[in-house]
């Protein structure tokens, strides 16, 4: 399978001597969903920022379809790689539509204004995340989960080949989590590749084609969900005992933190 996004031996540090990323490599195949798992502070967000091109690595290289990412001009890069940040509070009370419309920025010339085609794309993106009823409401009046959906819609409106999602389902209820991840799965079948950082190994079991597990700035396991999401790897990454429960009869797996005396 063709590789869309490739990272080679990325290193990064905010404070000299403390490596946040220490030789991270990964490859994102076309039309696939890659999950990044790992404890808080293991470098997931930094890695996503470097993969999106907004942060330059200290050393190492990112390749986008065989092109060096840092050689691509910013607006053309943003047409091909998008980053959906963790939820934030904007200063202005823009409507949902206006927020999503900003995803069109890389496609418009410097003095350009969004046109009818952009509005169609925006409305379609809003529809995909199920926010159509709220699209004229101020973004600041939305619940946390709805804001997250609006930001994801903005990423969709950006129409990139690769979309990097930073903990997209952290604030969502199970139904909205499913809605977002099903949308992701559908888009991945069509054209887009996703890199998703998450603290939810169960979503990775359900949706990932490929899982990368990190610990303290290094990749400790990388491969298919069934190969990687083992008790041993997860326990090592999170620094605590984890159980992988397998129900062979129903063909399901689930990851649970181990709590002695409750289940066994």
């Amino acid at each position: 399978m063709a590789i869309v996004l490739k990272a080679d031996a990325l290193r990064y540090s905010y404070v000299p001597g403390q490596m946040v990323l220490d030789g991270v490599s990964l490859a994102v195949p076309a039309r696939s969903i890659v999950y990044l798992l790992g404890h808080n502070g293991c470098g997931k967000t930094t890695l996503l920022e470097i993969l999106s091109g907004v942060r330059a690595p200290l050393s190492g290289e990112v390749w986008l379809n065989g092109e060096r990412l840092r050689d691509i001009p910013a607006h053309r890069r943003a047409q091909r790689v998008g980053l959906v940040p963790q939820m934030h509070t904007p200063v202005f009370a823009y409507t949902v539509r206006e927020v999503v419309m900003m995803g069109r920025a890389p496609h418009l010339p410097f003095l350009g204004m969004p046109g009818r085609r952009d509005r169609e794309i925006v409305d379609q993106a809003i529809e995909q995340v199920g926010l159509t009823a709220l699209r004229d409401r101020p973004y600041t009046e939305l619940s946390g989960g709805e804001r997250q959906l609006a930001l994801i819609a903005r990423g969709l409106a950006q129409q990139t080949d690769v979309l990097l999602l930073d903990e997209p389902t952290a604030h969502l209820d199970p139904r909205n989590q499913q809605r977002v991840l099903e949308t992701v799965a559908t888009l991945a079948r069509e054209r887009v590749s996703f890199v998703i950082s998450s603290h939810n190994p169960n979503s990775a079991l359900l949706y990932a084609h490929h899982v990368v597990v990190m610990k303290e700035g290094r990749v400790i396991a990388s491969g298919s969900p069934l190969d990687v999401l083992t008790e041993e790897t997860l326990s090592h990454s999170y620094g605590m005992e984890m159980d992988v429960l397998i129900d062979g009869a129903r063909g399901i797996r689930a990851v649970m933190p181990r709590k002695n005396g409750i289940l066994r």
């Binding site: 910013a74 607006h75 980053l83 904007p90 200063v91 202005f92 823009y94 920025a105 350009g112």
Partner: protein, 352 residues
């Protein structure tokens, strides 16, 4: 009315419709108000004659057999320059305030945060102290306005990576520094001659505006307004903050620098003509946001129109309410502060 409703697709219950209505009303306001305002004064001229005089000015004034009437001379020589200046200065201060609030992501700033007005005040006071030619006063105000911001910019560079907030902080300090220098000049100024002139200039007035002042002001202001209209949608993206603007392919540092340079030149030019006029840059963006919403696609043109209208009304009051002129800076504060208080009470859509 039903045609109007159809054309504007007004549904009062919907914020979007209401904001669109306010937007178009605001844009339609400056021209008729200007015509009406030209007619007001010690010598009243009906709007019809004002329009005729303006028409003559545009079409016939260069013809050999054209004999100007009293109204014509009054309209084109005395009142038109002043009213044009009020519109241009008001639009300038309003829109630059909105742009600054957008890029600083802060409701408390206007262009003066970087010290431009304080620098201009010092420049003007310096020339007034030596009784220089009015033109020299203006040039000096303009130059020192730019110098103050340049100083803020380079001083803030001394503090390593210099985020925008450091620039603002240094700008406030540089502004205070120039204010102190101005106070020093006032202290040494002749209390019968140059001191009143300096004080009057610092309160702002359009009374001394003549036709000579208009071309430079109009050129700089109109170019600046065009720039703001051009980048207005990008200001939305910029107001998300640098990190997100970069993921959306913008170069936030470059765009902010452009906005700061254009706004500073516009403000320095406006203040060099009008003297110090406070509050417009702060109040107008808030008022406009309440009416048309925070989207800069509408906000930017709306602040131009509302700023122009606000200063026109203030200036018309200043020159007609009492026999003597009242300084503008006095009025903008006295009208502007209560207005801002009302807006802060009403506003639910502008700021989080």
């Amino acid at each position: 009315m039903s045609v109007m409703r159809y054309v504007l697709r007004i549904r009062w219950g919907q914020r979007e419709s209401r904001q669109r209505l306010f937007f178009w009303l605001l844009l339609a306001l400056p021209l008729p108000l200007a015509i009406y305002s030209i007619g007001i004064g010690r010598y009243e001229i009906p709007p019809g004659q004002v329009v005729q005089a303006l028409g003559d000015y545009a079409l016939h004034s260069r013809q050999a057999d054209f004999t100007p009437s009293i109204e014509y001379n009054l309209v084109t020589r005395i009142r038109l320059p002043r009213i044009a200046a009020a519109l241009l200065v008001g639009a300038s201060l309003g829109v630059t305030g909105a742009a600054f609030q957008g890029i600083f992501r802060n409701p408390l700033v206007d262009t003066n945060i970087l010290g431009v007005t304080s620098g201009a005040g010092f420049g003007a006071a310096l020339m007034l102290l030596i009784n220089a030619d009015p033109l020299l006063v203006r040039v000096s105000a303009f130059v020192f306005g730019l110098l103050a911001v340049l100083a803020a910019f380079f001083v803030s560079r001394l503090y390593y990576s210099a985020p925008l907030i450091v620039l603002a902080l240094v700008g406030i300090l540089i502004g205070s520094f120039f204010n102190s220098l101005t106070s020093l000049l006032k202290y040494v100024a002749d209390p019968l001659d140059s001191l009143p002139a300096i004080t009057y200039w610092l309160l702002g007035s359009l009374a001394a505006v003549t036709r000579r002042d208009i071309p430079a002001l109009a050129l700089v202001t109109l170019l600046g307004l065009l720039f703001m209209i051009g980048v207005r949608w990008r200001l939305n993206v910029l107001s998300l903050g640098d990190a997100e603007a970069r993921t959306l392919g913008l170069n936030p540092a470059r765009l902010k620098l452009m906005v700061i340079v254009v706004s500073t030149v516009m403000t320095a030019m406006a203040v060099s003509v009008s003297g110090v006029i406070g509050w417009v840059g702060l109040v107008i963006p808030h008022a406009a946001r309440t009416l048309v919403g925070p989207d800069h696609r509408r906000l930017i043109p709306a602040t131009m129109a509302l700023g122009a209208v606000f200063l026109l009304v203030i200036d018309t009051m200043a020159r007609t309410l009492w026999a003597g002129e009242v300084p503008l800076g006095v009025f903008t504060g006295i009208v502007g502060v209560p207005l801002l208080l009302v807006i802060l009470r009403v506003n639910r859509t502008g700021w989080q």
